[in-house]
Symmetry: C2
Subunit: 331 residues, 2 copies
């Protein structure tokens, strides 16, 4: 296993400790609950925005806690939902009179943990809502999901509800905004290689030298089909057809376009994908209003990428354009 | 070869086209010279800051063109210096009455191209200076270098001279600042895997399952020694000893700490390295004043990382703290 790791069982806590040490003024780490939260949270004048999920998808979500994005993230172990008591504790610590919004990417383990955590928090008088994200068009049901999976498109939901909470919107209004953004967001991914979970020490699945997994899930679970490796342009055309035809996105639409790396693919290749996606959208009469190229929601060290489209309107653009300040940066 | 690529010979131009398409309001792309420049450059009230190098190190340098950083980048092909006429054309197009500063990471091919390009531009009356960066402590001379190599630490030089140029500093003063930052910057890297250049289609060198290259160069060239794979903490301790003892950094120093991913290593692992580096610096009485964790200067899809230390003072901190606006971002 070619990884920077000590004890594989300590992979997540050591990463979280690193994040906290690198951001001493803005982030607080509560080791007992894998909790990374803003030092200035909860704020009684805003709804607290929380996302949990398995680890291994970084920067999602522990590295995007900060002003204008998440107030807290409570991750589980690698590719494992957080235990329900982590969710419960997080909701209690983030309790604001304006409420707590729990964002959940649609995976059955996460839904269960958050449903139960929410129930426990509500029994303590914490006002909470859950918002499910299910942007992945690849498959209807999946290995660990009933309904569509929630993947990288959730970043647009986080950004929109984060901005709305900063300006003081109420919980009901923020839920409306989040549902709206989710409803116009579509994603599909492709894996060129498998990923290696630290505790397993070997690749999670087998993929031949001339194969790719088209429509892969963010834990490496199967997508639409195992296919022969194709050129960058061919891959983009197929990802674009799957996502654009699903909503559908049509001529005259203005969109945000995200090319998300899955962890082992360099950013140079992501811009090669972006180039084709941009030109093919233009051919469909669709304008790219906002561009996002880089790593957002990864699958450990998997080589691969996903493509996300969001249909923009004035309300969504204003929220995406609001300031945000999170740990991950270049300079 | 598990890459998103079309014709490998078009890897660089297709990437550059993607960058330009994603940043239509701020960046101009001149295909004949692999040139990415700010749309508002040259500015007659500021020194133009230019960096060239081989491609394959993204985001360095084509993705960090923008306000407060580079005015232009002129890359060569993958791991190849830009031709001298690219440097010449870039200097001419970026010509400002205040001058053009050419930043060069110390590799012999790059030095040659930039020395000749500078001479040609000066014959046309363009005021230019070259600033060499040589932060890599791994080896004194190397496969393609006389003297120390220039690697990820050059980001601190770019940031400092970029900020100084924005406030209108003269060329001589900017050169002084750049040399000063370079003189207090030390880096060393380690490779866990080789990288695969698109045009080669196979790994650039062989590295056993239980081996790592300690002190690797950013083109995969040999470092200090081939070693047995070690734990994350052991690797950090050795990188830290090599860099910290070189300047040396001593008790009472305040530093910037960068953990740079080499392209194939997920950011989760980089924070595990950061955690140890931060605690070990504390044991040495050295305070981390600024933290940088992510991908800055990569080697295509190589799994690996480098550690950079910069000794801070008020002048350097002010420059590192100045605003910058470049293409690479999360949100």
């Amino acid at each position: 296993m070619k990884k920077f790791v000590n004890d594989p069982q300590q992979f997540v806590p050591e990463m979280l400790e690193g994040i906290a040490l690198a951001n001493p003024d803005t982030l607080t780490y509560v080791p007992e609950y894998n909790l990374i939260m803003r030092t200035d949270a909860p704020n009684e004048n805003k709804v607290s925005i929380v996302q949990g999920s398995g680890s291994g998808h970084e920067p999602a979500h522990v590295m995007v806690v900060g002003k204008g994005m998440l107030d807290a993230a409570c991750p589980g172990d690698v590719f494992a939902a957080p235990p329900m008591d982590y969710v419960y504790e997080t909701a209690k610590r983030l309790a604001s009179p304006k409420g707590v919004l729990l964002l959940v990417n649609n995976y059955t383990g996460d839904r269960m943990a958050f449903d139960m955590g929410k129930e426990m928090a509500e029994a303590d008088g914490v006002k909470t809502e859950i918002l499910m994200i299910d942007d992945d068009v690849a498959v209807k049901d999946s290995t660990w999901t009933i309904g569509r999976r929630g993947v990288a498109g959730n970043f647009f939901v986080i950004k929109a509800v984060g901005a709305a909470s900063e300006r003081g919107d109420d919980l009901e209004e923020i839920v409306r905004i989040g549902k709206k953004v989710n409803s116009v967001t579509r994603t599909m991914g492709v894996a060129l290689t498998a990923c290696t979970p630290p505790a397993k020490g070997s690749p999670l699945f087998e993929l031949g030298d001339d194969e790719m997994e088209f429509g892969v899930g963010i834990h490496g679970e199967p997508g639409r089909e195992r296919r022969a490796l194709a050129s960058a342009d061919e891959i983009v055309d197929d990802l674009l057809a799957a996502t654009a035809d699903d909503l559908p996105f049509v001529s005259g639409d203005r969109v945000a376009l995200m090319i998300n790396g899955l962890g082992g693919t360099p950013i140079s290749e992501l811009y090669i994908l972006y180039r084709r996606a941009h030109s093919q959208l233009a051919e469909r009469g669709i304008t790219v209003g906002r561009s996002y190229v880089g790593e957002y929601c990864t699958s450990l060290d998997m080589a691969g990428a996903s493509l996300t489209l969001v249909r923009l309107d004035d309300e969504i653009e204003e929220l995406l354009n609001a300031p945000a300040d999170v740990a991950v940066r270049v300079f």
